[in-house]
Symmetry: C2
Subunit: 930 residues, 2 copies
Amino acid sequence: MTTKYVYNFATNASEGGAKMKNLLGGKGANLAEMGALGIPIPPGFTISTDVCTYYYQNAGKYPEELAEQVRASLAFLEAQMDAKFGSDGQPLLLSVRSGARVSMPGMMDTVLNLGLNDKAVEGLIRQTGDPRFAWDSYRRFVQMFGDVVLQVRPATEDDHDPFELEIEKMKRECGVEQDVDLKWEDLKTLVARFKEVVRVHTGEPFPEDPMQQLWASIGAVFGSWGNERAMIYREMNGFDHDWGTAVNVQAMAFGNMGEGCATGVGFTRDSGSGEKRPNGEFLLNAQGEDVVAGIRTPWELTLADSRMRARDMGMDEATRLTEYPSLEELMPDMFGQLMEIYGRLESHYRDMQDVEFTIQKGKLFMLQTRVGKRTGFAAVRIAVDMFDEGLIGPEEALMRVTPDQLDQVLKPIFNPSDKALALKAGRSLSRGLPAGPGAASGRIVFTARAAEAASKASSDPIILVRQETSPEDIKGMRLAVGVLTARGGMTSHAALVGRQMGKVCVVGCAELAIDYAAKQVVVNGKTLGEGDWISLDGFTGQILEGRIETVDSEVLEAVMQGRAPRDNQDIYYHYTRLMTWADEFKRLAVRTNADEPEAARMAVLNGAVGIGLCRTEHMFFSGERILAVRQMILADTLEERELALAKLLPMQRLDFKGIFKEMDGLPVTIRTLDPPLHEFLPHGDEGVVAMAQELGLDVQRVRHKVETLTESNPMLGHRGCRLGNVYPEITAMQARAIFEAAVEAQAEGARVFPEIMIPLVGHVNELTGQREVVEQAARDVFAERGSSVEYLVGTMIELPRAAVTANQIAEVAQFFSFGTNDLTQTAMGISRDDAGGFLGYYQEHGIFPDNPFASLDIEGVGELVRIAVERGRSTKPDIKLGICGEHGGDPASIHFFHQVGLSYVSCSPPRVPVARLAAAQANLLEKNAN
Amino acid sequence: MTTKYVYNFATNASEGGAKMKNLLGGKGANLAEMGALGIPIPPGFTISTDVCTYYYQNAGKYPEELAEQVRASLAFLEAQMDAKFGSDGQPLLLSVRSGARVSMPGMMDTVLNLGLNDKAVEGLIRQTGDPRFAWDSYRRFVQMFGDVVLQVRPATEDDHDPFELEIEKMKRECGVEQDVDLKWEDLKTLVARFKEVVRVHTGEPFPEDPMQQLWASIGAVFGSWGNERAMIYREMNGFDHDWGTAVNVQAMAFGNMGEGCATGVGFTRDSGSGEKRPNGEFLLNAQGEDVVAGIRTPWELTLADSRMRARDMGMDEATRLTEYPSLEELMPDMFGQLMEIYGRLESHYRDMQDVEFTIQKGKLFMLQTRVGKRTGFAAVRIAVDMFDEGLIGPEEALMRVTPDQLDQVLKPIFNPSDKALALKAGRSLSRGLPAGPGAASGRIVFTARAAEAASKASSDPIILVRQETSPEDIKGMRLAVGVLTARGGMTSHAALVGRQMGKVCVVGCAELAIDYAAKQVVVNGKTLGEGDWISLDGFTGQILEGRIETVDSEVLEAVMQGRAPRDNQDIYYHYTRLMTWADEFKRLAVRTNADEPEAARMAVLNGAVGIGLCRTEHMFFSGERILAVRQMILADTLEERELALAKLLPMQRLDFKGIFKEMDGLPVTIRTLDPPLHEFLPHGDEGVVAMAQELGLDVQRVRHKVETLTESNPMLGHRGCRLGNVYPEITAMQARAIFEAAVEAQAEGARVFPEIMIPLVGHVNELTGQREVVEQAARDVFAERGSSVEYLVGTMIELPRAAVTANQIAEVAQFFSFGTNDLTQTAMGISRDDAGGFLGYYQEHGIFPDNPFASLDIEGVGELVRIAVERGRSTKPDIKLGICGEHGGDPASIHFFHQVGLSYVSCSPPRVPVARLAAAQANLLEKNAN
């Protein structure tokens, strides 16, 4: 039996189909599929990837059968097109393209008009009656073939292209400025000179034999699979070198053969809004690349779009009819065919399509169809509409929307045209790390104090610009719409807190030179001062000068209002449908990281089913509390410390009560004090002196205490449960506040489920002691109040030691919550605050595949999570397992957490919908894999 | 068959022996053993631990057979002693003691003189003719029985003991000051009053029936096994609650029955020097506790000792004969018997014994024998002497010396009497962590500069006192004999570098309040200034005021001279024998951490077989180098940086060449640059300005650069291979220096085996790049020099991520060296520099069993080592595995490293002998376990 290496494709005569992607490559399989659907396409054939594999295993030779199979397919093409390869009558012209199973840069792209030679060009002239078209086609073919197949290229990057030099020379000789001003005779001369260029460069004459042209092109495609750029690309993406590429040989269709010719592109639905509104653009008498090139302004396919755009341009209907007509009007028959094909493609592919077509002398050919790129809004709308149309099921609809697309729907964005204008005007300043999505424009402030002053003075939005942020900047961050820092990574303080607050946040822009004293920032040679407008794109990290209008997310507004969708044209309708499915199909629960009732409320509206991390220290900063906190820290005796703690108790109780009432019926995980105590003290001697005076303490003593508390590596210092173990009275106060608040909230009708979480446990003994303190507080409060609540005591797993001894810790912990921020820092030995010096370099140079603080390092940090899950369960099979690091809102990380079998992820309130979708997708992927 | 619960012991009539420790407890088994050896002991019997178990399983009941067995053994005792229990003729008096398999605080101790009642006391008077002795014995019995058996005790700690109150009252009534002034009639009255106290407290009369007394005492012993203190002790030590205690009932022997009576203690050899010189002390007509109590000065057993001490006291022979005679002279027969028993005990137990004896009216009884405590010197000498005497084999000799004892032999110590005087004079100031063993006395300096000045001005030793040390203090540390810091743990900079340099080092003494400006330190209310004498005991962490004479280690002197032992009385003879065995029996190789030829030489003399860690950064600090290093750091371009590196190259080459030549034939592991660059920059703006001026750079620019390099958590910052990856030119320079040095050293006849070690690798990609840089340098140098050397490239495993991905890293690494200092820091999330705030508390409160920086945390950090070993070997089964953290010199850690199968440990030069011994012991323990 002979092996089949060559597969024909043609309208109603394809030998392959979409499912044969591995053998025919993506392009070949799709062309075959379109043909099989009866959609008009220029016929052609695909040489399979097996030939590529053979080629590399046999030192560049082809299988014996190949030549005969190619000859047979060529005959099939000639019959289909009623033309002859190399003929001077009706010449068959071909395109040759590579096509692997996934699209891949670095490989040979395209040779067009193959089959032209001195004889065939005469046939083309005869056929079209247009010698300029024919000689120009020939000229282009020689140039393209010379470049991509024969590699006639400039010797160095600084040299000029030898073909372009000839064109320039010819234009000088003819005294013309533009290519289009060259006459057909000039082009004919140019063909001859191009051939001479080839002869000089290769030492061989340009191949006149079309078969020789064809085989050389096929060889060039296979050869390009093994070139360096393609190899590197595959290695970077983990693609297999053995996959190989296919070669697609296709008859040319010309949209530029004069009357009755056109070419265009289009989407079956609106790629911006997702509305079911077929659309597209076209040019009369043009080649495909002309539409994209933007030299001529393309016209709209539909009458409706034509009228709308004309109105935008201030064009009256009469002018429109002559200067801006639609295909619908000009070629109603072709338009009708195209719309019918749109419908057929959508019902076949069950997704919005991005198509290319050519009309050659009144005959429509589809050149390409592929899934259309779309905005977040369109992705959500199309997925749900297609479900409503019966095209897809809910699982498929869920898989159609990426988490990032969903996020887009929830964020304010820049008015696109306003932003485009700004970019055109050269107002782009620099780019940082996109740490908090959304768009924000505001007046620059450099300090929290200035933020307060500016807010009082005017209602203009403000943007806080800092070297890096610290807890002292929180008030300023709260007042700002956006935060910009020169230092810090994706999980620096600014990024973490900014995201938590839902602020637009761009961090780690090293190009900013901030001078606090002068109240100005210099970036890229421009100096901006306090009060100047600046704009941050939190999606891309772009930083722009001046003000750019932002547009609110309609969906988020609806979510926060809790309103019902208006109708099935309301994007909020699509959003709610999608999120309902997400909840139906996910296994992971999604909780939120929230420290305040307001944030908790937003998270619940966003679909959170509990709080996974309530940080208690943020509550310590406001107003008078910080005084009591500082009193506690500076206390010399247990009695002094308990006195200060007694002041904090009612405040903490109030905080917790508010949260419990807000989270009625849902679990609330509260973490005991975590940061090192010096974080609560002022910086600088001036602040220390002021503090001592405010508290009526001896300055010298306070200075000494502050000095004592200073740490070389605060991240690894006296913090977390180490505070609670050395000062059990702090944990006791916090536990008491929690239980008193819980009992009170319960008395007022709320159902409360406190889960008390001990941070930074490394050794089980650290948890044992803290659990005893918490349980004692519970017994005391329940006895005093004559009422009790159910509660759990668990721990964070955020140290490698905790992960590998999870079996021991599980004996005492009722739940684990993975603190993947700190676990990443300790497992990798990288301080997120100091990673700036090398992390960027590492990502750029491929040393790290990703930023491990944005997306969990699954191989390393994930391995510790896996070990901890396994060991924790070996002790307590049903232990509750969650994760409350920033990775809880990262889709790739969520997939891992699903796989490893956690019970829930917890993320910032705005990320909750994204996490719900990612959790559903993780479950569906797992389901489909099994 | 009846179960045997009671075992008699007596001279030549024991039913048990030393091997029955689990059943008879330690004390019972040893008494039985002595009896079986024919050594005279007061006879008795042991109630087995099985009874204790039965007692707890049956709610305080005894097995049925017990009563009869106790009766039978009592009859045996009466026969042995020719006395009758409770008789007014020849009354049998007993002691009752607890005795578990290990000695254990918290349990009932001893009841003496049991069997006395109103009748038996008359018998005792008749027997001794001494009514005062008899009534006093009775009085003591009632008090002791009342206290430990009947628990007649003060109600609270503040209350007075009811028995003592009676004594006070009686003395007031009699108008006497001292107990001894009470007459026998008073004592008789006191017995009656004591009994009344018992009746009032217990509601029962004092038991007159001796059998009742006996059973109550037995019950009290068993009951005390379950008391809280004993339970806690067992839990803390991991002892099993099921072990149970035995009860020992033994006939009383009296050393205080008048003429021909004595009591004493002794050692079969000198416990201080280990010399074979039997010795001991005794008192005529006294009870055992009197010797220890120190009210009367005991006399020497031997004539030789008696003469020597008398000479010391300036006593002439005539006076000595009357005031300070020896047992050898007073009771030559008893002395002879005792010496004969000494010999028998040594040959039986094959170890130096610590004994107690009593002579009752010319009859010698041994009360106890146990292995004698000894100094390090004695341990080494005794082990080797006993081998020479044919008592033990080399393996046993090796197990007889603890690593700490060996270390003692190598260290200078305080002249013991000088230190004792200082303590008596109240010159103890405080206590820190003993980070570098030895003893040192010197004048205080507070800065490296002052150290230099002081060294030039005088030859007095100096001690550097600092808040904490940094690399800038190294010069000062080198000049000092000791280092004292207020901050930092066992692996702080001061501790690490101090130990490395062999300095006496006490760190983390938080009580020091150092005022650099005033050049003084205040501790415990005392103020010491620059130039004042201070003394550090690096064995204990003690800090003393003033000067204390130190005594050099004779062994170390001999090692460094490489001399031969003088004779078999030379401690150096014993040391070398022991170390030869250690090398014979160990499997782990012992290398050293050394950065300089001098340190390397010392390590080799100490038995190191290679360098496991040569830090290259220490070489960067001296003289002009620091300038070039700073130039490199402040460089803005690659060219500037390479210029500075070119200056460093010849200096580094010289360093390495010296080390290669010193280590001729041995492997040298060199670590590439590790610390963050800012460690090489001056602190404070003044230093920055000076540096800028020195280098001719713009101050503002330098300030900015220094600011940029500042890190929040330098430990987790831009250091280790992250430097080499971002600035490959640094690694390239270092590699070139290594290979040039290696080739040159080889040309001069040295055999060189460089092993290049890349620090802080977390991801295999970080190693791949660095290995390429190193290999390129090797190729370049070998080509230029026309000569090559064998070398390896490996990595440190010091991050948890590296441990769990060791399988990937092993694909690129030719060896692993565990950096357990950093691995401990990252695995536990504890900065060694900041651990002061809680680590002490954690150890005190049993949260951490040990200081994890001194002794490896085997459960946690060790688990990561185990995972890394397993995964590394899964990729490369024969990969070379070592450890170069400070734990490489810690015996417990060495045992673990042996178990886990490493190839070598590397430690500071002075620790090498200790590591060799620990390695041998680890192997022997493993051998014996299998």
